[in-house]
């Protein structure tokens, strides 16, 4: 009778293993999903902001093309506008701009809206590659009907 008993222990051991695994993974997934609620950063195109108002007091991402001739310096702070060709947002950024930041380039900025509607960026992302267009910016341009297929 020793043998069937042994099989049962093995099975119960396997069940315990699977049970623990499901428990731990489930806890991790729950932890992740609850963390998502608090930490997700929403993206707003200039048109979103123009239509729905300024989402103040929230860490957000915005993006668009840097408006030609809009880049100005105020001490260490750079002020520029991004546009999806319909609307635009003014951005102030106090750091060193990425190498590929230039007028006409698609960029994404992270930060918060000031009550005045200006966006105080804490990070500006341009890409490592000048042909690259951030997907959000491409979508925003498509939404405003200004998207042209890349020349490639």
């Amino acid at each position: 009778m020793a043998r069937p008993k042994r099989t049962r222990t093995r099975k119960s051991y396997r069940a315990a293993f699977i049970g623990t695994a499901v428990l731990v993974l489930g806890a991790a997934v729950l932890l992740a999903l609850s963390a998502l609620e608090d930490t997700v950063v929403f993206f707003y195109s200039p048109t979103d902001v123009a239509e729905k108002g300024v989402p103040t007091g929230e860490y957000a991402r915005i993006g668009g093309l840097v408006v030609d001739g809009s880049v100005a310096k105020d001490g260490a702070v750079t002020i520029f506008s991004v546009t999806d060709t319909q609307n635009s947002i003014q951005v102030a950024y106090g750091g060193i701009l990425p190498d590929l930041f230039r007028e006409g380039q698609g960029i994404v900025a992270e930060g918060e809206f000031e009550p005045t509607g200006r966006f105080a960026a804490s990070r500006v992302l341009a890409k490592h590659d000048e042909n690259y267009m951030p997907p959000e910016v491409a979508d925003a341009l498509k939404a405003s009907g200004q998207w042209k297929e890349a020349t490639e």
Binding site: L25, A28, L33, V40, A76, K127, D129
Partner: protein, 669 residues
């Protein structure tokens, strides 16, 4: 002519891979030894053909043959030779060619080193390996062919992205792919074992060196990429929880879990089907990583221009392999025999906990990485998930794991005494406590978390020393006897201890930077000073400098510490005329305990006429160098473990029953 030879060799390699697949999967079913033996030859032939192909592309880059579109788009005659060569894989098409070349090299190595593998298992492994090769070679031929010509031939090329003209990034892809693709071997072994319906200690012993080699390569690849981001992007950070970074971290976590669970299969015959599943998942995550990076579906700071058609193709490959392997697993895994039993407190259980926590952390990273994609697909909302998410999920999952690391190798197999093990670790615990308390009273700012972090790091490093000391029974007998034991210690034991100590060193670095990094952005004029950390930087001015294919503004900073001049820092703003692209070259002064890091920004008119002010960003990153040192130490540990006699000599003859595998000196790997 040469590119055509390369193109032709590529197509031939596709055919050979297809044949290898057929032979490898049908040969064993027919029981035909000659068909099975041919898979090895096919694997060697594939390497030769792809080497020819890769050499042809390299030649085109070296001689700057701009009639090849790929060379035209990614090279320039004025580029330094090193970057002409590394430019071969500095672009999508070339990088995929390198990917399949490394895949073929791994396949041929299995054929070459696996002389003691049973014929049918070896043929099946090579068959699956051939299938992966065939599918990816097809992808290269159809959707990213590097040999396509351009007519008329342009006079010069458009240059490689200057950010990639850097030694750190030049060698990042080969190592990263060595890891990604190396995991394909574990995957092939898993699939072959499922087809055979047998997983035993010998199987685990064959898989482990491949998984270990892939893991080491992946670690080097990730570390090089992170190092590059640190000094080249000029953001002062080394890890941004960016989707492209996560794409490489996920297979790394899964591979780490696989390394550990394979030990249990090898030594105790338990966790078989779990290990097989992990091998499948690790390579699946590598494929997912390739897809995320190559398709550009996620917004990444490291993203490059991409072509959606290729993304779809890779997605198809991804679904084919992951779906196929999981279906095979669901069908065949229940036939695997259940393994040995073990008590809740035992080495096996410790490794199970290791696996669960690593898998859970992988799941957290996966959710954070893919959630934006899912949400966009479902609701159309554009979101991003940044560092706060990963800090609040990954960190709490990985912390208990770090606490448990020193216990693992000290626990006995099958059944262990928790209290006795804890007592043996008292020295490490005291060391951790002392370091934690010192940190608490010395460091200003957010001391409690930093002190706890430093204590954990000490716990890991000291734990590794205690493990070695326990193995040689230090202080419990004559010293000479312990020294003798030290000489006789298997390399796998050294490997474990060193790799675990490396984790500790890495934790030191991460905690130091996270808790103590300082950043200052200021407008400076020549002659002005700023203080950052314990350093004082004096801005001496900016001069013009020129390199082989760029021109630069070079700033000079005198670095003083405690009033004494300790060095100069010369950050640059370079401009590459051919690519019409500027880059920032940070200047970093490294001691083993900290980095002082300076970036030169844009000039602007100064307070009075004729003066120029520059934006300067300075960082002080305490313990930053230990991040890289920790990675190097971990890799060192894995290399030492890899050189262990047990793995070199290979597994014992197959006839022995799995559970009677001789246990060498109670060592783990």
């Amino acid at each position: 002519m040469i590119p055509e030879i390369g193109h032709f060799a590529l197509v031939l390699a596709l055919a050979v891979a297809a044949v290898q697949t057929g032979l490898g999967l049908y040969g064993p079913a027919l029981g035909d030894a000659r068909l099975m033996a041919m898979t090895s030859r096919a694997a060697s032939l594939q390497v030769i053909l792809l080497s020819v192909s890769f050499a042809a592309l390299t030649y085109a880059f070296v001689v700057s043959d701009f009639s090849v579109i790929n060379v035209y788009e990614n090279s320039h005659s004025a580029k330094p030779m090193l970057y002409k060569i590394t430019g071969v894989w500095g672009n999508h098409e070339g990088t995929m060619l390198l990917w399949i070349l490394i895949l073929a090299i791994f396949g041929a190595s299995v054929a070459g080193f696996g002389t003691n593998l049973p014929d049918s298992l070896k043929a099946r492994v090579l068959g699956v390996q051939g299938l992966i090769g065939a599918v990816f070679t097809l992808f290269v031929v159809l959707a990213s062919n590097p040999f396509i010509r351009l007519s008329p031939t342009p006079i010069n090329g458009t240059d490689l992205n200057p950010l990639l003209q850097d030694p750190g990034l030049a060698f990042h892809p080969p190592f990263l792919y060595g890891g990604y693709v190396g995991l394909s071997v574990a995957f092939s072994f898993a699939a072959a074992a499922l087809i055979e319906g047998r997983v035993d200690a010998a199987w685990a012993r064959w898989v482990r060196p491949w998984a270990l080699a892939a893991w080491a390569s992946l670690t080097v690849g990730i570390a090089l990429g992170s190092w590059w981001a640190y000094y080249e992007l000029g953001w002062g950070g080394y890890w941004f929880w960016d989707p492209v970074e996560n794409a490489s971290l996920m297979p790394w976590l899964a591979a780490t879990a696989l390394l550990h669970s394979a030990i249990v299969v090898e030594r105790r015959g338990a966790l078989k089907s779990w290990t097989v599943l992990l091998a499948i998942l690790a390579f699946s995550l590598s494929l997912l990583g390739t897809f995320l990076v190559r398709s550009g579906v996620l917004t990444s700071v490291h993203a490059f221009a991409v072509d959606p058609e290729r993304g779809l193709f890779i997605l198809g490959i991804l679904i084919f392999f992951i779906g196929g392997a999981l279906a095979l697993y669901a069908w065949r895994a229940p036939t695997l025999k259940l393994g040995g039993l073990f008590a809740p407190v035992s080495r096996e259980s410790a490794l199970v906990v290791n696996n669960l926590l690593l898998t859970a952390s992988t799941a957290a990273v996966l959710i954070g990485t893919l959630y934006p994609l899912v949400l966009e697909g479902v609701t159309g909302e554009n979101i991003s998930v940044g560092p706060p998410f990963f800090n609040s999920t990954f960190v709490p999952i990985i912390l208990p794991l770090l606490l448990l690391v020193p216990f693992g190798p000290m626990l006995a197999w099958k059944r262990a005494d928790a209290l006795a093990t804890a007592q043996r670790l008292y020295a490490a615990a005291i060391a951790a406590l002392v370091v934690g308390l010192i940190a608490l009273f010395v460091i200003e700012g957010s001391p409690i978390l930093a002190a706890a972090g430093l204590a954990i790091a000490t716990w890991l490093v000291a734990g590794a020393f205690v493990e070695i000391a326990e193995r040689v029974k230090l202080w419990r007998g004559p010293f000479a006897q312990s020294m003798n034991r030290l000489k006789g210690l298997p390399r796998s034991a050294w490997g474990t201890a060193i790799a675990h100590a490396g984790v500790g060193v890495l934790v030191f670095g991460v905690v130091g930077v996270t808790a103590g990094a300082q950043e200052r952005v200021v407008l400076m004029q020549a002659g002005e000073r700023i203080e950052i950390g314990p350093y004082e930087l004096t801005f001496e001015g900016v001069s013009l400098a020129s390199g082989p294919n760029y021109e630069a503004d070079r700033g000079s900073f005198t670095v003083r510490r405690g009033g004494e001049t300790v060095g100069m820092l010369t950050p640059e703003k370079r401009f590459y005329p051919v690519a019409r692209m500027p880059t920032t070259e940070a200047a970093i002064r490294t001691t083993i305990l900290d980095d002082v890091y300076v970036v030169l920004g844009d000039p602007q008119p100064g307070a009075s006429a004729g003066q120029t002010q520059w934006i300067v960003r300075a960082y002080h990153n305490p313990l930053q160098p230990l991040v890289w040192v920790g990675c190097i130490v971990m890799v060192l540990g894995s290399i030492i473990s890899l050189s262990d006699r047990r793995l070199r000599v290979g597994a014992p003859a197959r006839k022995k029953p799995a559970n009677s595998t001789p246990i060498v000196d109670g060592a783990s790997a």
